[in-house]
């Protein structure tokens, strides 16, 4: 077991979920209730990372943020921030490709809230912020839990983008999935197996958690029929 890689993987997964949760809530809430005409395009854009090969995403990431690009150059010159082959860059890429995994379940949770719950709150005198805090958030919570679990599981399993953007720098960008690849290439099948099995079990656990959250606290629970 490559504990260093496990540490990078877990840190990446936790930070990705942490960064994405507030972004996901805002985006999901807007998508669930907006009547903006361009919404389908925004939704398509959001879903794109699900369909594109990870190599395509990684390739464009390198192109836009690499040290040879204007933006990448500016970032490293003015802020000392290097986003390719670094943990920070890996985190940014991971957040981007996990957006649909975080947003989708939360959006469904918000969309399933009856419209007039918010109206009832406003009429009762609650401000938009109080309504969000006291009513919307507690009711959309199962969707958020699902979003977090899916994001964590998917980040642990991501391979293509990690390899393209981060490479395989021990302790910095080498995650478990990349470490497995390295082990196999070195014909260390036993070592690869250990880590692969750990990933399988963890993902299974995360998915079970998603379904459990969906059952016990589905947004429909307790809504008067």
């Amino acid at each position: 077991m490559d504990w260093q890689a496990a540490r990078v993987s877990i840190l990446l997964a936790a930070l990705t979920a942490l960064v994405l949760l507030p972004v996901g809530i805002l985006l999901a809430r807007w998508l669930a209730w907006s009547r903006w005409r361009g919404k389908p395009l925004a939704e398509a854009l959001l879903m794109l990372p699900l369909l594109l090969p990870p190599t395509v995403i990684g390739f464009y990431f390198l192109l836009v943020l690499g040290t040879n690009s204007t933006l990448g150059n500016w970032l490293s010159q003015s802020m000392g921030l290097r986003l390719v082959f670094s943990f920070e860059g890996l985190l940014l890429a991971s957040a981007l490709i996990n957006l649909p995994f975080m947003v989708q379940p939360i959006q469904r949770a918000f969309a399933s809230l009856p419209d007039n719950l918010r109206e009832a709150a406003w009429v009762s005198g609650l401000s938009s912020w109080q309504t969000f805090w006291k009513i919307e958030l507690p009711l959309a919570w199962p969707g958020m839990l699902a979003g977090i679990a899916l994001t964590v599981a998917h980040t642990l399993g991501e391979f293509g983008v990690v390899l393209m953007v981060g490479g395989s720098i021990a302790g910095e960008t080498r995650t478990l999935s990349v470490a497995i690849y390295d082990r196999v290439q070195a014909f260390d099948l036993g070592g690869a197996h250990q880590m692969a099995l750990a990933l399988v079990l963890f993902s299974l656990l995360a998915l079970a958690l998603v379904f459990a959250a969906g059952r016990t606290g589905s947004p429909g629970k307790g809504v008067p029929r």
Binding site: P114, N116, L117, E119, A120, A121, W122, V123, S124, G125, L126, S127, K134, I135, P138, L139, K221, G222, V223, P224
Partner: protein
Amino acid sequence: MDLKVHLNCPGPIQLDAEFECAAGELIALVGPSGSGKTSLLRAVAGLLRPPRLAGQVALGKTLWFDSEQGIALGPQQRRVGLVFQNYALFPNLSALENVAVACPSQLDIWNDASLRALFERLGLAGLERRRPAELSGGQQQRVALARALRRITHQAQEASPHHGVLLLDEPFSAVDAPTRQTLYRELASLRQEVSTPMILVTHDLAEARRLADRVVILDGGRTLQSGPPAKVFASPRNARVADLVGIQNHFEGHFFKQSPGWGRLSWRDSGGATLDLQVIDKNRLADGAAISWVLVGEHIDLLPASGPSVEPSTHDNFLICQLLELLPLGETSLCMFSPKALPQSRLTLNLSSSQLRKLEAKPGSLLQLRLPPEGIHIMPQRAAP
């Protein structure tokens, strides 16, 4: 504090409504689905504010909405207790928390005397800790009512001395009939204690008739007529109102002036036959005008066909009719008649069952109906849109 509403909106939701509701008065907004009654209620509450909405909503001297002065308060700033059709209780909160949702946060809601009194008043004592899903439909309805009442009677948040407006959006449509009867009584007794304007939206005419001091008839977002239920139901202003209030005996004809105060109604059926009836001339209709008219059931008498000849001096109309159908409903029976002179026309009347028995009435038999002029209400044909 009187509520004054005058709203106009060309679209997307058409509104052209004007009505007032005095403190302690209950008015019913009545109309078919899609008539804009719920939209109107939502506009009063501040939930519906389309960009082209014009007019004024005012409670006493407080302007809630005024398009000319650019005033449009949000729903939080209007003091409105709204009971939603599906109650819209917060499923994540207990019954008490649902009601106390707008209370100041430092209030200890579990030890608040006014909240406890409200729960007892509405028969909800002991249910404070239940979630909405653990309450029956009637109980949920009471919690929703309690929440609305709390909003308009609770004084602690603002210094404003006046209360608000209670808005009820078809609140009785989702409960079973016995519960509905109980809730009707609750509302009636509540009106003794809460003296705010109350607006009830309903499509149920019987409900409007039973609960409201005044009804406002709405169609396509327009207020067509308002007044005490008995008056609106007995003398609709035009044919559309007659349709909307569900008057069954609604016919077409022509009006001709006669001696001062009296007119002749020429009733024509689809077969071309005509029948003349004496009517009262209120000088509102021109000689020869095409009219709609309705028969107001309470004034009709049933006599044997060969009936006692009545003094010819009266203005009453006597119609020989054939009884086509007879449906006993207990004390009264639903009867369908066809006048002998107008075999194509149908009159539907609720008549006393004992009277029908006395006359040995059965389908096919001939009877005489006495229609006094005051039971015939004439009005212009369909109002110009």
